[in-house]
Every structure is written in C-alpha cells, then in structure tokens.
Amino acid sequence: MSHIKTTRRGVLKGGAAVGVGLATPTFFTSMANAYTNAPTGGSVTLGFNVPQTGPYADEGNDELLAQQLAVAHLNGEGDGGCLSTFTSKALKGNGILGNKVTFVTGDTQTKSDAARASAKSMIEKDGAIMINGGSSSGVAIAVQGLCQDAGVIFMAGLTHSNDTTGKDKKANGFRHFFNGYMSGAALAPVLEKEYGKDRRAYHLTADYTWGWTQQESIAAATEGVGWETVNNVLTPLASTDFSSYIAPVLNSGADVLVLNHYGGNMVNSLTNAIQFGLLDKQVNGKDFKIVVPLYSELMAAGAGENIKGVFGSMNWNWQLQDDGTKAFVKSFGEKYGKPPSNSAQTCYAQTLLYADACERAGTHNPCGVAEALEGFEFDGLGNGPTLYRADDHQCFKDVLVVKGAENPTNAYDTLEIVEKTPRAQVEYAPDHPMFAGGALGDCNPGA
C-alpha cells in the first residue's frame, strides 16, 4: 500500500498551482484557438458594456433591456421580435451557430477608462467574443480601440461623433447609429424650409469629440443653405448651469441657438435657454429659434415642456410604422411596459446583426464576421433599407428629423416625426474631409 506524505510545502505548492490554473484568464487559454474567446461547451458569450451607474444609467438600462431581449430572441425565447421581419433569414432562434447565447454585463460609468476596464474584464475573464453598448462617443472610441487590440468585434451602441467611423475607425468596430454629418445633412433642409435662408446661428458646444464634430457638421450644413454662424462657444462637459453662456446670445445678433449638447448638458442648457425667454424674443425681425441636433427620448422626457417645437434628429423612433419597428416595439413594450428608446433599438439591432453575420460567415472568427458585415444590405430592423459600408463600417439608412411634441397625449409622446430623410441625402464619400485622418487597418482575430 502506497503512502502519500502530506507536507505543508506540498500543500502550498499544490494550492498555488490550482490557483494559477483557476485564475488564468480565458484570454490566455484561447491562445490555443485561431481567434480570441472561441466558443466552447455549446455556448457563446456576448459582453454588454453599458452605463449602469452615473448620469446615463437610465439610458444604459434601456440598452441592457434591449440586449437581453435580443439574446432571448436569438435563443428562440419570447415572440422572436425582429427575427421574422429581418430580411436576412440566417437566424433560426437556436442561438448563434448552434451555440446558446449567454451574456455578461459591464458598467461603462460613461467614463473611457472605466469602460475600457469593464470591456477588458469581460473579454479576458468572462470570455466575451463581442462587445456591444454604450452611450458616449468618447467611450465608444476608447472601447473600439481596446476591442481592436484584443481581437473581438465591437458593435457600437449610441455614438454620434463623426470620429467613431472617421479618424478613429477600426477594422473590428462597427456602427449602426447615425453620426453628426448625417444629422446636419438631414436637418439643414428642414430648418431652411421652416426658418428660411437668412438666419444667424450661435452654437454652444460640449467640449469633447462628439461636440466638436457635431458642431462642425451642423455649421457646414446650415451654412450650405445660406445661414451664417455667428459664434461657437465651447462649454465644459461638467457644466450644470449654462446661464453665463446663454445670457450673451441675444446681444450677439444671432436669431438661432444651436445646442450641441447631449444628456444632462442638453436638458440643462435647453431649460436655461427657455428660462431666459429666448423663444419669446424677436431678433433681426424674426422669431428666435432653438435647435437641438441630437435628441433622445429619455433626455426629451428630462427636458419636459421645454422641448415643445424644438427641432432635432434621431436614429430611430418607436412611432415609425414599418414592420421591423412594430415587431420590436411590440416585443419590448409587452415585456417592459414602455416603448424603447433609440439607443435601445441600436443595441438590439447590433446584437442581431452580429449574430446574423456569424451565421452567414459560418464562424465566430472576428475576421469572418467582419467580412460578412462589410457591404451587407438589409432591412426589417426598423430603419428601412440599410447598408453597412465596407470602407468605414458605418451604417447608411434613413435619418429622422423630429421636433418636441406640441400637444403630448401621454408620457411617451415627447417627440413627433417631422420627416424621414432618405438615405441618399445623408450619404457621403468615405474620404470626406470630416472623416479623414484614420484608417480601418486590418482585422485582428486575436489569439
């Protein structure tokens, strides 16, 4: 009979070996595979990186609800949502490539460093093969860079800066959401029609990547229809009271105020502008007007009655009447008791688009998925006929021009659709100067 002698040193050595084995991130174990986090054991893990704390937590929560709904639909649960309206019929409701879809979540806190840390953790510890979500361009650009380096696909959530698919574009990153250029191209003709050619605009702009590119886009588009840009004042992102910036507007000779603000900044700057009675004034013999180029339903609710009649643009709205929108709104509304926001819709669509690309490519390999997404034309997800352009991984589709509802009938009736701007009107060349300076580079499969 053999005798095993147990020593303190032996126990320590064994414990250390087991500990190292358990602690080894899947990032390293995946080295044996052809790409990062190749699925094993019949399941595939998606990483949903959304703001769960901080000022955008409600928007993040809406995104997460939509992502969970997408996972349920991919796994054949619920009513299937847009699986029945999506023109690609590759998805069967049996997971992705036969693997059951599971997910992990991360909290971006709407901070680039925190978002990168949570995405890194989901990739390295949890084995996430795709990262989706977010509600800030700064965060999206930071996480996109991380995903490129780690060798996973990044399906951006709400990010509207031209830079995301412009100078900061990456081969592993894809954006379904529209951008600042498209907002300008859609809004300018409507503004010209409503307010005339002879207008003088004063811009207040959030001082970071999204604000800069949106301001550049809106100014160029409105100047293209004859408007003059009187001034552009950069406001700190941390500002809460904009009275000091709004007070000089009336004396500047401007008759339109453009608020290149989003989220809490937008709610506060618009509220402050209304308090100063700008919309009650006349300048240059014309009624003073305010424009908020990028709207979201949640922020519109935060601004309350202040948004009445104020024009802006959106990626999507639950009031659209196409089959894809109806299916998604029904599915989301029956499960959660409220209509989805446009950030929720983009995350839902991105999750389905990723899964569909895997099915069509026949692999989870990021390079195969990227190839399947590049140049992909589809419909039935709520935005009408859409193209995922290969040159920059930007989706091209119709853009909505909206305005604050004049006579809302319920809590969700905050915005009304003014125009569905056709895709052709918001398209631009891949080498357009506003998007110049970066290169997609090569797809990185990771391991």
Binding site: G54, P55, Y56, A57, D58, E59, N231, V233, P236, A238, T240, D241, S243, S244, Y245, A247, P248, L250, N251, G264, V267, N268, T271, N272, Q275, F276, G277, D280, K281, V283, L298, M299, A301, G302, A303, G304, E305, N306, W318, Q319, V329, K330, G333, E334, P339, T409, N410, Y412
Partner: protein, 343 residues
C-alpha cells in the same frame, strides 16, 4: 456695460446657491467642528422634496378611454390627479402648478428631521475623531444617500417647473435705460436670489437677535465655558445641524426649476461649496456668504467670450485660481477666525 450687468446678475444668482450651501456647511463646522461632506446630498434631498411633492400632487385615478390608443394599440389609460377631482380642475391644476413654492413648507420639517437623524445617528460618533475620518464617513453617507435617491427616482433628470406666472424673463435693461433685450433675466432666477437673501438674513437674525442664537454663538466661540455655565450646548448644536440641513434643503427646493433635479446634483455643488467655505474663512458665516457671491460673480465673468478669448479655459479654473491667490495672501481666508483649523 449691458454684458457686465448681465454677468453680475448671473453671478449673484450662482452665488446664491453657493452662499446658501456654504452657510449651512459653516454652521455645522462652526458649531460641531464637523467637516460635512454630505452637505451637497442635503441640497439634493431638498430638491427631491420638491419632486416628491410634485409626484404626490399628481397621484391620479385611472380611467380607460376606448377612443384613444396607447403605444401598443391598447385602449389608453387616462390619468386624472385626485387634487383635480377633489378641488375642481382649475384649483387642482393651480395647486400642482405651484408645487415648487408649496414644497418649501413640505421640505422644512423633512430636512430638520433628516438633519436630526443624521447628526444623532451617525455624525455625533465622529466629533472627537480627526477631520479626515469625518470627511470619509460623511462622503460615504453622501454616496449612500444619492444611491437611495437614484434607486427611488432613477438617474434621469426630472422636470420640476416653476409656476406659470414666473416663467419667462424680465427686461431688466429697459428699467435701467438700456435697449430692449439688452439685459433680460429670468423671473425665477431673480426670485431665487431674493429668496436666498431672505434665508441668509433670517439665519443671521436668528443667531444675532434671539437668546437661542446668542447661546449658540457663545458655544461657537467657547464651547467649554458655555457648558460650565450649565447650558446643554450639545442639544442646541444638534438643532443647528437641523437648521443647516433645512437651509441646504430650501436651496435645493428653489433650485429645481433652474435645473431639473437628478441624483448627483449635490456632488456638483459640493466641491465648489467647500472652496467657498475655505475662501470665506473656516467657521465664518459672513465670510461664507461673501465668498459665495464673490466667486459666483467671478465665475460668470470668466465665462464671457471676451475673457475666454484671452485666456482659454479660464471659466473652468477661475474659482480655484482665486482660492489659491486668497489663501496665499490671507491663509485664514477672507474673514477666517484665528485658531480655527490652525491647531
């Protein structure tokens, strides 16, 4: 000239909020010697008192309207606030419309209670601990309070408008002989300034002209001697903590129409208010008020395009820059008392 006048008005308005919060902070520091990093949270709770009253007044009966549809195509649930059913549509709507001013009455007892519970339940255990411990525990408390508010009301800002009669702006310039629209200022912001002046005057009068206030001032100057005279100064200081909480809460209530309340609004004011207290002089009530208005005005001037074109980004650092200069030239702050925070 009109631009300067406009920024002075702006500064007085901003300074009102800084002064009210800094006044409460100084009251607590001067009486109890506690550095209260939860004071911004008290301002936030005051704002949510207004939100809560607005929600209470909007509690509604629900009827089904078959002629209208909701977003899913189901018959619409129409809400009718009970106050409209009880007092008639016109009176009911007027009550809801005046929810922010009414919230002043609603908030005072709540804030006094919150202050009392906070002081008796937690802060009294840290009187004899170093200031670093006090800062840590009160900062932790502030985070707990804001997370509770977030769990109850969500992270999104909640619109809480002023009564209709106070919407719009006053053409202040015309009153002073300027062109129309040269100096316009919102009615509610003028009311906020007037309100803060009244509250500050009331606090000073209370401390200056009442026996209770006299004892508190004596306690602030020499706690031990007042105690030796047989006066229970602790009880009075606890009450003053409640008063400080109520001042912060009232500042928050009246601020709701200016910016829609959200759970982290207290943190936005906290650091600035501490700078105000330090610049004014630790423990000096007039110093806190003076520094609040002064820094508010300087911050407004720094936001002017003419100034920013000379020194870009000055609007973001002006308060801290001034604080450095004042503390280098007057280490006790503008009106700091000798011996306070100097041991």
């Amino acid at each position: 000239m009109d631009a300067i006048l406009l920024q002075i008005l702006n500064g007085l308005d901003k300074g009102s909020a800084y002064a009210l919060i800094a006044l409460g902070l100084t009251l607590i520091f001067g009486t109890l010697g506690v550095v209260n990093f939860a004071h911004g949270a008290l301002f936030m709770i005051g704002s949510f008192c207004a939100v809560t009253l607005q929600k209470i007044l909007n509690i509604s009966s629900i009827t089904i309207d078959e002629t209208q549809k909701d977003f899913l195509g189901n018959p619409l649930k129409v809400k009718t606030p009970y106050v409209e059913a009880w007092f008639g549509e016109v009176t009911g709507q007027a009550i809801i419309n005046w929810s922010v001013p009414l919230a002043i009455l609603f908030a005072i007892p709540i804030m006094l209670l919150v202050g009392f519970v906070m002081e008796r339940g937690l802060i009294k255990h840290f009187y004899k601990r170093p200031h670093a411990d006090q800062i840590l525990v009160t900062f932790g408390l502030a985070i707990v309070l804001q997370e509770i508010i977030k769990a109850m009301y969500g992270a999104n800002p909640i619109p809480t408008p002023a009564p209709d009669v106070f919407r719009g702006s006053l053409d202040f310039g015309v009153l002073l002989g300027f062109d129309p629209n040269a100096v316009i200022y919102p009615y509610w912001r003028l009311i906020y300034f007037a309100f803060s002046t009244v509250v500050i005057a009331a606090v000073f009068s209370f401390l200056q002209f009442t026996t209770f206030g006299m004892v508190v001032r004596a306690g602030m100057a020499d706690r031990e001697t007042v105690g030796l005279l047989g006066i229970n100064i602790d009880k009075r200081f606890t009450f003053m903590f409640g008063v400080a909480a109520a001042v912060a809460g009232l500042a928050g209530v009246m601020y709701t129409p200016i910016n829609s309340p959200n759970y982290h609004m207290g943190m936005d004011f906290l650091v600035l208010s501490f700078v105000v207290v330090v610049v004014g002089g630790m423990g000096s009530l007039p110093g806190a008020v003076l520094a609040g208005f002064m820094l508010g005005i300087l911050e407004s001037f720094a936001s002017m395009n003419e100034i920013k074109s000379i020194i870009p980004g000055i609007d973001q650092i002006i308060i801290y820059l001034v604080a450095i200069v004042i503390l280098m030239t007057r280490p006790r702050g503008l009106m700091g008392r000798k011996g306070v925070m100097e041991e």
